[in-house]
């Protein structure tokens, strides 16, 4: 295969960026999109050109490092996959592919395609945890949880924090990420004691950095873990409740 890439090059956070055209030959259809960039970088090195900086780590869709806007879609055209799981067979021979970094005010470009997603960590720091003493794993049958609830919480917990939802959102909102991080704890018994504090703190932090939700549903479509916007609804409901809830009565049904 042969592809024509148009890649965003930017020397540093403050530098002017621009698109650069590169032709890559001998692309195997079985390569992942990141492997395409490995090949490109080898080629650039051989030509004495600075290689393209891009984020990657696990290359199997579990770490959330990879982050490319491919032809105007976060993580590219395939549904439910991260950039590292996107294969070149998804593209036609001779395809023209434009690649640029995630764009959001709170995702400053570090270099080329790499952005700083630290703002997502600020949201998690605000409440994406439960305050318990850790140690050896507790007895699994101690806290019965209905199957549906466990499954649904697991669906939220699948979020890998890649930021594709922010990148894809026309409003640059981080609702899907935050909702996933709020919900996987708020759905479970272990998350109840800090439930309303958590949602209020995490939403307030999210809004310091990101836009607001107008239900375009682009996040859901871009999310490599196909996380549902129903979690956003749940977060909204908990946030509203958090304003009124008498927190001294949280243990009451």
């Amino acid at each position: 295969m042969h592809v024509n890439l148009r890649v965003w090059r930017q020397a540093g956070p403050k530098a002017e960026g621009h698109f650069e055209d590169y032709a890559v030959d001998e692309v195997s259809p079985d390569m992942s999109f990141l492997e395409l960039f490995d090949v490109l970088n080898e080629q650039l090195l051989a030509d004495g050109v600075e290689p393209v900086a891009f984020d990657h780590d696990c290359r199997e869709g579990i770490c959330g490092s990879c982050s490319m806007m491919i032809n105007g879609q976060a993580h590219g055209p395939e549904r439910g996959t991260a950039t590292c799981q996107l294969h070149m067979r998804k593209f036609e021979d001779g395809a023209h592919i434009t690649v640029e970094p995630w764009r959001a005010r709170s995702f400053p470009i570090v270099k080329d395609l790499a952005v700083d997603r630290g703002a997502l960590d600020r949201i998690v720091e605000a409440g994406g945890y439960i305050t318990v003493r850790t140690g050896s794993a507790p007895e699994a049958n101690l806290t019965p949880i209905p199957k549906e609830v466990a499954d649904w919480a697991m669906d939220a917990a699948a979020c890998i924090g890649c930021g594709a939802c922010v990148a894809a959102c026309p409003n640059g909102a981080a609702q899907l990420f935050t909702a996933a991080k709020v919900s996987h704890l708020n759905l479970l018994p272990q998350g109840q004691s800090e439930r309303y504090e958590r949602v209020a703190n995490m939403v307030d932090t999210m809004e310091e950095y990101f836009g607001s939700c107008t239900l375009h549903r682009e996040c859901e479509a871009a999310c490599p873990k196909e996380i549902s916007i129903d979690f956003i609804a749940m977060m909204n409901r908990d946030y509203v409740k958090a304003q009124f809830k008498n927190r001294r009565l949280i243990a009451q049904k």
């Binding site: 956070p13 709170s106 307030d204 107008t214 375009h216 682009e218 956003i232 946030y239």
Partner: protein, 262 residues
């Protein structure tokens, strides 16, 4: 230079860049001040709260639009019916309250609903623009966002401008040379007889239909009222509501233009 040399040189450059970066980007800086204050203030300052307010005021406005359309359709029953209905609106709760007082209470609620709906939309739009100051330079390829969701701002503005014109046409009469207070039937027929005025009403109602198509679906999410059991029904509800309002309202100028009502 060998590949080895290029690679070592660029690794060195890369490491230097990374060092500089830590100083340059550092921790991302918040765009917006953190929401806070006593609960109504805190709630309104937060975007989630504003969306909740937009949903609640949206429901009030949907109710108004529905009742308004039902009232409008009385035009098909002739001048007597619709003019009586207009007078009845002014006399609701008479004699418990003087004439038009209850109508003004309703209008007060409506004005407040419009005010908060628009204020929230304006502030959220500002917030969203700030969240992505640099657009995608290679363009976007939307997969889920539909025409209605992406034009909410514009359909909203069209409806707002139309609302002012509509009041000037049928309520104040300032833009309507043939205006007769208390004769909605005659006023409607006179206005819609002119094709360009009929066209304004038709375009505005199509915009309203689009606005409702997205809004009447999205409001459930903003209120947190999702349930897999009826998530699909929300779409049908929004389509039905939008179609009902658009068809009902647009039928009237068309009926006048074609001479079915005169």
């Amino acid at each position: 230079m060998t590949i080895q040399e290029v690679s070592t040189a660029s690794q060195k450059a890369g490491a230097d860049d990374a060092d500089r970066l830590v100083k340059d980007t550092g921790a991302p800086v918040p765009v917006k001040k953190r929401s806070g204050g006593p609960w109504p203030v805190h709630f309104w300052r937060s975007a989630v709260g504003k969306k909740w307010v937009m949903a609640v005021t949206g429901i009030m406005l949907l109710g108004f639009v529905l009742v308004h359309m039902i009232g409008n359709l009385k035009i098909y029953l002739g001048p007597g019916e619709i003019n009586d209905y207009g007078e009845w609106l002014r006399r609701i709760l008479v004699p418990a309250l003087p004439r038009t007082v209850f109508l003004w209470i309703l209008r007060g609620g409506l004005i407040a609903a419009f005010f908060f709906h628009i204020a929230a939309a304006y502030q959220l739009t500002r917030m969203n623009h700030a969240a992505r100051p640099v657009k995608y330079q290679g363009g976007r390829n939307y997969v889920a966002a539909d025409f209605a969701s992406r034009t909410m701002r514009w359909t909203g503005i069209i409806i707002g401008l139309f609302l002012i014109y509509h009041l000037a046409d049928f309520t104040w009469g300032t833009l309507n040379p043939d205006f007769v207070r208390g004769d909605p039937y005659g006023n409607m027929v006179h206005s819609f007889d002119k094709w360009y005025i009929a066209a304004i009403y038709i375009v505005a109602n199509l915009a309203l239909g689009l606005h409702i198509f997205h809004g009447a679906w999205a409001m459930f999410n903003s209120l947190g009222l999702n349930n897999p059991a009826y998530n699909r029904a929300r779409r049908y509800f929004a389509i039905g509501f939008a179609a009902l309002i658009t068809i009902g309202n647009v039928s009237i100028p068309i009926a006048v233009l074609t001479g079915a009502v005169s």
